[in-house]
């Protein structure tokens, strides 16, 4: 029996922007899901829920993948679905172990495409050291899906002494970014119909578990980690600033971005800070350990371009402020819906 009234929202329908990773996504989570599923573990608002089970701390997470096109420069929906969940576990401080995989397939999907996707998932699982131990397939009528949607859930183990949470970062922490931003989003856009620009940009989709393991071995003072996926690093930093009620200061000049990505963003009127990544993390580290952690990250193939991009401050709690390339300061807000290319 449905006895709770639907929370008042100014939207009577779900719109695409509810999935954009910005303010509307957060409102949807807060009003519809968190309000009903309310519990202590969910309220951690971490990339994975971490919980104890008979002296064993576990992390559990789930994510659905609806990327279009399903094959894109540098990857496909299958490996993305594996790496995405592996990364959500990793940045929660867990060692990823087991994944489930659920497929919603639109009738008419070429069997060859499905095969390629599944083979790449197998390879991605091997590369990440996880096993896909359960799964499900459903086929829907043509037009009721879009080729294939994949959901993966993952379980990992969290070792003693590791406590990563968005609420743990504190003033003084250094903010480390693991490499160039916005490659994934631009690679996807360049492959979409209607947008003919040629780049050699490929998605950065990659498993971060090995990198994270090295970081955690190097320091017990990593307070917070996130992989900066949908909504880009701007959304990730805003989420953390707001969760921990701290101010975040970043320096535009220190954020590495590929020239081709900058070019594409200039043409389309997009801000790379809001564009998705699939193999990049930000870590909030006690400043005394920052150089040590940075060194370890730089020695790993997925972290060679790692750099300190800013710090946590007491001022302007909940806000991200950026020193621009010309030396002025401005707020980096969370995006409302999805970035829309400008007219001119």
């Amino acid at each position: 029996m449905l006895n709770c009234p639907i929370p008042k929202s100014e939207y009577d329908k779900v719109i695409l922007a509810h999935g954009g990773g910005g303010k509307l996504s957060h409102q949807l989570l807060e009003k519809i899901f968190f309000s009903q599923f309310d519990n202590e573990l969910l309220n951690q608002q971490n990339d994975s829920a971490v919980f104890d089970l008979k002296d064993q701390r576990l992390a559990f997470t789930t994510d659905s993948y609806v990327v279009q096109p399903i094959f894109f420069p540098g990857g496909n929906i299958g490996e993305l679905a594996v790496y995405g969940t592996v990364n959500d576990l990793s940045v929660s401080g867990a060692k990823p172990l087991y994944l489930s995989a659920g497929f919603i397939i639109e009738e008419g999907l070429p069997m060859d495409d499905l095969w390629k996707i599944v083979v790449s998932m197998k390879e991605a699982a091997e590369k990440s050291g996880v096993q896909i131990i359960t799964g499900d397939t459903k086929v829907v009528e043509k037009g009721k899906g879009d080729k294939v949607f994949i959901n993966t859930s993952g379980v990992g183990v969290v070792y003693d002494g590791i406590n990563i949470s968005p609420k743990r970062c504190r003033p003084g922490d250094a903010i480390i970014l693991s490499g160039r931003i916005a490659d994934h989003g631009i690679a996807i856009m360049s492959a979409r119909e209607g947008l003919q620009f040629e780049t050699t940009i490929v998605s950065d989709t990659a498993p971060l578990n090995e990198l994270v393991e090295k970081m955690l071995n190097a320091s017990k003072n990593i307070h917070t980690m996130r992989d900066a996926t949908r909504g880009g690093i701007a959304s990730t930093l805003n989420e953390i600033a707001s969760s921990a009620n701290v101010g975040v200061n970043i320096n535009e000049n220190s954020i590495p971005i590929n020239d081709q990505v900058i070019g594409a963003c200039e043409i389309l009127g997009l801000d790379p800070l809001y564009i998705a990544n699939e193999g990049k993390l930000v870590a909030f580290v006690d400043s005394n350990d920052a150089e040590k952690v940075l060194g370890v990250m730089k020695s790993h193939p997925l972290g060679v371009d790692s750099i300190i991009i800013g710090e946590v401050v007491e001022d302007h709690p909940g806000r991200v402020v950026m020193k621009t390339s010309i030396g002025s300061s401005r707020i980096v807000d969370m995006i409302s819906g999805e970035q829309l290319p400008r007219i001119c």
């Binding site: 100014e10 719109i15 209607g194 401005r330 819906g337 400008r342 007219i343 001119c344």
Partner: protein, 359 residues
């Protein structure tokens, strides 16, 4: 990145701001016309570097912002029809109509598609011969040539199911209206570089002479804008009024003749309603009669749609530089980028959205 980094160089910025500081002895109000410039000013917080005496007024040069509510309602009406594929540039999707915007009717089942070029809309028409494909042709002189070219292309390739809903506006008539207003505080203008790339700058000379106001054609990067401000302040301080071209790496006196040719082949100048300002004579484009079969206002029966602007939104005063966004009671409260009451809160080029995101 070459051709960009030079114009975002912190040393050059510092030198320019020092020079502006040195020559400024009195308060001046300068309007940047173009929303692209407003966006840069906010994104780089250029005002942080300017002397307090210089006030920047953010002008009406955001095409999304000045498209009248009536046109949005016409767009929503057309897009809601089951035999229509409605195509638009991205940032028109969230402009609020009376009850809906294009994004929300899309969620309700309407076939609304974002395109990056009007020629893509023509391609969609070719691929979907059983649908009427409509492109929402919005913008200033900058986007008009490409939009006009789509009509020429449709004619050339004999596409019969393509039309445009046109809401094109022109910059010079708007400047004249702003300057003719006795309450106007504007003492100098940064003209929009990209508009002048197409049109050239010669059409601004009569305005400079008539109103005795400095106009400097200006680009969009921080260094461009600061140079434009410097040149304007220098004229004002020396009591001169001239047309100058800061953006000479792109803009010539007569503009792009090919672009103008295709534009005036398809469009003719007409009176146009501006959101928040009202009708400005001879300030927009409509499709010429010879291409009327590509004019969505003639293809669809929408001429009964008449809508007045909402009263709570002070977009008109914002767009004319009479008020700053934070002087609006609804700013950041009832009116946010998630729920814009008026168009300046929608596009990142809109003054209200720029203030909301960056201030």
């Amino acid at each position: 990145m070459k051709y960009i980094d030079e114009y975002r160089d912190s040393k050059i910025v510092k030198n320019l701001t020092n020079e502006i500081g040195e020559i400024t002895t009195r308060p001046w109000s300068i309007m940047e016309i173009c929303g692209g410039q407003t966006h840069s000013i906010m994104k780089y917080n250029l005002e942080e570097f300017l002397p307090d005496k210089i006030q920047l007024i953010h002008g009406p040069g955001c095409p999304v912002c000045v498209t009248p509510l009536e046109k949005i309602e016409k767009a929503i009406n057309i897009a809601s029809r089951s035999d229509v594929i409605f195509t638009t540039f991205g940032d028109m999707m969230r402009v609020p109509g009376l009850n809906d915007d294009l994004l929300s009717i899309k969620a309700g089942g309407a076939d609304v598609r974002m395109v990056y070029s009007p020629l893509d809309a023509v391609k969609i028409a070719v691929k979907n011969p059983d649908k009427k494909v409509v492109f929402f042709a919005v913008g200033f002189e900058t986007t008009a040539p490409a939009n006009a070219a789509s009509v020429v292309e449709a004619e050339r390739s004999k596409v019969k199911n393509y039309s445009m809903l046109v809401s094109h506006v022109l910059v010079p008539p708007a400047i004249e209206v702003l300057l003719s207003d006795e309450a106007s505080k504007i003492e100098g203008f940064l003209a929009a570089g990209h508009v002048c790339t197409v049109m050239g700058y010669s059409e601004y000379e009569p305005i400079v002479q008539k109103f005795e106001v400095p106009i400097v054609v200006t680009g969009f990067e921080p260094v461009d804008i600061l140079q434009g401000i410097y040149l304007t302040v220098k004229q004002l301080e020396e009591n001169r009024f001239k047309l100058e071209n800061q953006y000479s790496r792109v803009v010539t006196k007569n503009g792009n003749s090919g672009a103008k040719e295709v534009m005036f082949n398809v469009f003719e100048i007409t009176d146009m309603k501006w959101r928040g300002i009202g009708t400005i004579p001879q300030s927009g484009f409509k499709i010429k009669n010879k291409y009327s079969k590509y004019d969505a206002e003639k293809v669809f029966d929408i001429n009964d749609i008449k809508v007045d602007e909402p009263e709570e939104c002070i977009a008109g005063e914002i767009l004319q530089g009479k008020k700053k966004p934070f002087e609006c009671d609804a700013f950041g409260k009832e009116c946010t980028p998630e729920h814009p009451l008026g168009a300046p809160m929608v596009s990142t080029e809109g003054a209200c959205a720029a203030y909301f995101h960056y201030k």
